[in-house]
Symmetry: C2
Subunit: 231 residues, 2 copies
Amino acid sequence: MLATVLHPETAAAGCLAAEVLAAARDDGGLSALDRIGSVITLRRDRALFREGDSAKDCHKVLTGALRSCRLLPDGRRHIGEFLLPGDFIGLDLDATRRFTAEAVSDATLMRYPQVAVERLIQQQPKLGKRLLAEVWNGLSAAQAQLLLLGRKNAVERVASFLLLMAQRAGDGDHFCLPMTRNDIADHLGLTTETVSRTFGQLKSQGVIRLAASSQVVLRDRVELEALAEAA
Amino acid sequence: MLATVLHPETAAAGCLAAEVLAAARDDGGLSALDRIGSVITLRRDRALFREGDSAKDCHKVLTGALRSCRLLPDGRRHIGEFLLPGDFIGLDLDATRRFTAEAVSDATLMRYPQVAVERLIQQQPKLGKRLLAEVWNGLSAAQAQLLLLGRKNAVERVASFLLLMAQRAGDGDHFCLPMTRNDIADHLGLTTETVSRTFGQLKSQGVIRLAASSQVVLRDRVELEALAEAA
DNA sequence: CGCGCGCTTGACTAACTTCAAAGATGGTGG
DNA sequence: CCACCATCTTTGAAGTTAGTCAAGCGCGCG
């Protein structure tokens, strides 16, 4: 899920795949973006944009967290991904939003007008490569999620989710889940109750500890990885 | 799921999102690709490549069909997508394959060496735009599949699948499913039996007719769309 | 014609959902 | 600073959907 700003002229002529991947590892000119962005704040549960809106900016999460979600006509909800600090939103080619983006917690974001980003990319090819790399990351994550939703059971889903969140939170064994159990359920294709019961099960097995319902401590990462059945 | 050849230099400097989308509608220089490709054939159930292989070419399906799949350690399988004539495979940035691609039926493909495609893209910016548009289509399809796997029931999954296949087969009401019920099940996160029973249910409701087990006739597309709960 | 593979069907089971209610948590206002 | 209230989480019991196991069918190929 990436950039309306990600156009092919993005990078200098002649660059190779390896170079794009390399760009993903350094700043890639990302800081230059900030000069053309404006900071906005978003209260919990407010929408940044909704499915069907026209897309004229892209955003980067600075603090807090967002969710990208889609609804079925009868109200069933699916959360495609959670967006944490550093993540980009709306970095794709569509003129129309394909999902709704809402704040999971109070959040601050940087807003970049599409046209300004396009201009900047032309001046700084490295930036384009960096943003393109972000797109590939998103695609890769989506594929892992397909496997999870298609073939994993409740324990495996929750275990996979916890490991991913731990990694995104900076790879410590102690981290915070800014979203509710219901949000997690809608992301993992489960119900609130099943998520809660699964947390309880992992807790009683000694794999995790909950300092508070949103404060997770990994007590046995190896066991958690085994439970996640990482393919 | 797209191109190891899709590098940012792909398009001419200054192109806009609208232009990329426009390129997707015409040939976009796609025919020029064929001059650098070689035709290969693949027998049913043979792998084009496997997860973990290094990626040095990309391919386009000419005839037949393929599946992209991933396995869990205990053998559970998930099929990410079916690749039909005209679809590109391996059009992404990764040096390593993230999934296995196998022939669902005997197939012929065009193979394009990565480096040759990169060279060609530099000469024909339009081609790069066209291929990038393919990537967005794939991303969009993956998102729809997340909703399906996360929140739809068996009937909705099968109905959605049939509508999509009908559309990809050229929008007639009569089409062929080259893959087995088991393949469909692994794509929809169900079992062979559930897929079979759901086909039977749709048949007895008069929504579809099966000329043969792989020959589907849509008898009531409107009803099928209602069953798919298209969001 | 017979064999094998894939498809279908049936009976039973398991996993997850649904429904219901009690127990935490945290934010707000008195 | 504490009490209250809404919201979120947890837990329990019953229900439902899809999975599992098992067997028969039918098409297509040799």
